[in-house]
């Protein structure tokens, strides 16, 4: 019995490291928030290379069967005080934010910005409208992470706009 427990404890860390990238999670969350069956595919925008980070990932979400484009998604990492955190944004076709989710936050401090209710403030806005401390409420103990995710969401929106222009032509 005891060795079984040891075995479980030994394998839990390994199991976690096998976990896939954000695509599966984005797919799941997008289906839930749009109430549609979707397929997800990654694309690579070539515009605005200067603003692109190596962690960026861009997705299109297409309705299963019909093939209509339903939403876009963007995933990346941003920096808190000392450590990066991973997040994604799901946009509608006008690039209005449907949902933001932080799916990996590494530091002990500043994790407040990963809270569901705090991130809900982003929904309904275009990325470039977001301002930390103004239409996005500031959080004590998470100033750097809060500023960082807002700035990165603004960057994401610029990138998505140029990518969307390219795609729709």
């Amino acid at each position: 019995m005891r060795s079984l427990i040891y075995l479980v404890f030994f394998f839990i860390p390994l199991m976690d490291s096998i976990a896939a990238g954000p695509a599966d999670l984005i797919h799941k969350v997008a289906e839930k928030s749009t109430d549609k069956n979707l397929n997800i595919k990654e694309f690579f925008p070539v515009d605005s290379l200067k603003e692109m980070h190596k962690d960026d990932q861009y997705y299109q979400l297409v309705e299963t069967g019909g093939g209509d484009l339903v939403a876009y998604a963007f995933a990346s990492s941003a920096y808190g005080r000392y450590e990066a955190f991973d997040y994604f944004i799901i946009y509608d076709l006008e690039l209005t934010i449907i949902k933001v989710q932080v799916y990996k936050y590494r530091s002990t401090h500043g994790g407040a910005i990963a809270g569901k209710r705090w991130l809900r403030q982003f929904s309904g806005h275009k990325g470039d409208e977001l301002q930390y401390g103004q239409n996005v409420q500031a959080v004590s103990g998470a100033t750097i992470s809060g500023n960082s995710i807002v700035n990165d969401a603004r960057r994401a929106s610029r990138l998505m706009e140029s990518a969307e222009k390219k795609l729709s032509h």
């Binding site: 976690d16 990238g21 962690d55 590494r106 990963a114 809270g115 209710r117 103004q134 004590s140 103990g141």
Partner: protein, 389 residues
């Protein structure tokens, strides 16, 4: 040879595929950003004011702290802060290994900050108002309070719950029969700071935090245990007199704390309440000739407003604040000890902070110190700069 060639192609294929599927954690692992350098500093000027006499001021490089973090893998990291206090004193403020077992569960061990109240863990100058830390966070919570230990920490991201649960070394209550605890500043001189620290019994420290409501950051902390004593070392288990003597040098500690920070449209509200008890103080005081109280209570409330918020500034801030603080280290006393009214203190702080960019602050404030023994309030003006990178 051919077989090796096929194997190499297969491996290359696997490498390409896994390269595409790397999550950002793995990508960070592959990136050279393993070493982090950071730090903070506060340089203070304190000028006591009194009408009848001349007072010299104090100019001090109060704290200069350098942080180094090293990421061995996405799971294992080491963080250390090297502190120079008052230019001449060298300390290690933190030095711990963190190992992430699961996203919500990390093992941590080393020299760690005790999670009690706000300032002990968040003490970088731009994060608090006033040149000096609140006095509650000096006389009751002995910031910067850190000891060697081990435990678990983690967060549940979406719901906004964080926790820390540590077993740590306690205060040194008695050093060869000399009292390290006092009526005025409680445990402050008993901090061992991980420097050849004496260990006889572990203490439990925990905090549960909640950040699920936008703008709110609140938490409940607890600390339970016993002080350590050098007199325990080498006593004969069979000699009751020796054990009794050593017992007189020990006290039990229970401390609980509640803290909250809330920001809303340029307004900031923060408060903290710390209460606790010290057991066996009658024997301890008798044995050491000391005056440690058996109960302590302190709290503060602070309101601030960022004047530049109204004109839409997000980075640049000019903060006005007022803090009311009350703390009594003789809230309760045991045995023949009468409570000293001078230990029942009230501080008022009115001041401002200018943050031209995040991470930089210039501070100016005026403080009034009063206590229950009467007399006029002592006053002090403080000015200082603080940085954090």
């Amino acid at each position: 040879m051919k077989r090796i060639g096929i194997l190499a192609i297969m491996m290359l294929f696997v490498a390409c595929v896994s390269g595409q599927d790397m999550n950002s954690g793995e990508r960070m692992l592959a990136s050279p950003e393993k070493l982090t350098i950071g730090g903070y500093a506060q340089i203070d000027y304190n000028q006591p004011l009194s009408s009848g006499e001349i007072n010299n001021g104090l100019m001090d490089v109060h704290r200069l702290v350098l942080l180094f973090g090293y990421k061995f893998s996405d799971r294992a990291s080491f963080v250390t802060e090297i502190e120079m206090e008052h230019v001449k004193e060298l300390y290690v403020e933190q030095a711990y290994l963190n190992y992430e077992i699961l996203p919500w569960l990390s093992f941590r061990s080393g020299l760690m900050l005790i999670p009690m109240g706000i300032v002990n863990e968040y003490h970088e100058p731009p994060t608090f108002n006033g040149v000096e830390r609140p006095n509650l966070d000096k006389y009751i919570v002995p910031t910067t309070w850190r000891e060697i230990g081990a435990g678990f920490t983690g967060h549940f991201l979406q719901s906004g719950i964080t926790y820390q649960l540590y077993l740590v070394n306690g205060f040194l209550g008695s050093d060869d029969g000399a009292a390290k605890l006092s009526g005025s500043s409680l445990f402050r001189s008993g901090r061992q700071k991980g420097a050849s620290s004496v260990f006889s019994q572990p203490n439990l420290a925990f905090r549960v935090g909640y950040t699920g409501v936008p703008g709110l950051n609140t938490g409940l902390s607890g600390y339970f245990g016993q002080t350590q004593s050098t007199l325990l070392d080498g006593i004969d288990k069979a000699v009751p007199a020796e054990i009794a003597m050593a017992d007189s040098s020990l006290t039990g500690i229970r401390m609980i704390g509640w803290d909250a920070r809330y920001t809303f449209r340029g307004f900031g509200l923060r408060g903290q309440l710390i209460a606790g008890s010290v057991t066996n103080t009658e024997e301890y005081n008798q044995f050491h000739g000391s005056d440690v109280g058996s109960g302590f209570l302190g709290y503060y409330a602070e309101l601030s407003y960022d004047l530049l918020h109204a004109i839409g500034s997000t980075d640049h801030a000019l903060i006005l604040f007022f803090r009311y603080e009350k703390y009594n280290t003789h809230w309760k006393t045991a045995g023949g000890l009468t409570a000293d009214p001078a230990y029942d203190r009230t501080d008022l702080t009115l001041g401002m902070g200018w943050k031209p960019v995040p991470g930089v602050i210039c501070k100016l404030d005026h403080q009034w110190f009063m206590n229950n023994a009467g007399g006029t309030a002592n006053r002090q003006i403080n000015a200082g700069i603080g940085i954090w990178f």
